[in-house]
Amino acid sequence: MKGMKLWATVAAAAACAALIWVMAANFGKDPHEVPFMLSGKPAPAFTVDEIGSGQSRTLASYAGKPLVVNFWASWCEPCKAEHPVLEWGARNFASQASFIGVVFEDTEDNAKDFLQRNGQAFPQMLDSTGRMAVDYGCSGVPETYFIDAKGTILTKHIGPIDPRTLADYIRKLSSPQPAPSASDNP
């Protein structure tokens, strides 16, 4: 019995130490972060209707040029904050990338209203069923996806985007090889 007691004590001590280590190792990690698996994978095909004209657009129609897809909704405050940045980006980098916005979790009227008040510099689509958002592994708004000319998702940016980050990603999209630029990081 003594041997068994010793083993039991050692095992219990090891288990407790492991417990403490596991919890300590998780400090600083964000438990609310949602994993994203599509980096480096081909962008899923989509078919959505353009707001206003009602015309249907697909991924294929943007092939051959890098694409920036921004998911947003009219009721979301950070989306309102980042809207001017995207407008600027769409105009500034028009030769390097196409920009489209996708509204989901919202109604067309709300979206039209928002665009009327805040301006529209690039095509806006309505994902009425939310299918495109789920297809793209979206986990909320706002999120901005960066897709290269070959149709591969480079990465996505969660939360409102700032001009420098936007510029960085577009530069990465346009460079022929996806070589990591050591100089600056978003």
């Binding site: 698996m37 009721w75 979790e105 709300n110 069923t129 939310g130 299918r131 793209y136």
Partner: protein
């Protein structure tokens, strides 16, 4: 009047307009949708399944499950769809392979270990020192509970039940 109020509400403090879910499928398929929904995790909630969560993201995900079921995909294909986008994190029970065996086999191991310990503790046959046991005053039961234990009527209960 309500329309005005609702519009005023929506204009004043921005709220996510709640969308109606897509139409339910015929009962068998819908039951399958709900079953799958219980096993998939809502992307924005704190651990709720997409079947349970009322948030609009969850309903978009459930609608996706519905259309996938309608398209005739198998359960595993539907799980794979979500795993491809959100990782294994999207499943509310980790698939049983590799590292995940810790969480599936761990409890069973504890149970087996414990049963083993109990079997060692329990001996069949009385202890040889039965007599000394009887005589030794145990530092055992506090007297007040002994008073409860030996109430005569309970002896009668025993007798009664033996009949």
């Amino acid at each position: 009047m309500i329309a005005l109020l609702a519009a005023a509400l929506l204009a004043a403090t921005p709220h996510a307009p709640q969308r109606e879910a897509s139409e339910p499928l015929p009962p068998e398929q819908e039951a399958r949708v709900q079953l799958l929904g219980k096993q998939l995790r809502c992307a924005v909630c704190q651990g709720l399944s997409i079947a349970d969560s009322p948030s609009s993201m969850a309903r978009a995900q459930l609608d996706t499950v519905r259309s996938l079921v309608k398209e005739g995909k198998t359960d595993q294909e539907i799980f794979d769809y979500f795993i491809a986008r959100y990782g294994e994190w999207a499943l509310l029970a980790p698939p049983a392979h590799g590292f995940n065996w810790i969480v599936w086999a761990g409890p069973a191991l504890i149970l087996v270990l414990g049963a083993f310990i109990i079997s060692r503790l329990v001996r069949t046959g009385p202890e040889p020192s039965q007599a000394s046991k009887e005589a030794a005053p145990p530092s055992g039961p506090p007297k007040q509970d002994a008073a409860e234990a030996e109430d005569p009527y309970l002896a009668a209960v025993r007798a009664e039940l033996k009949k």
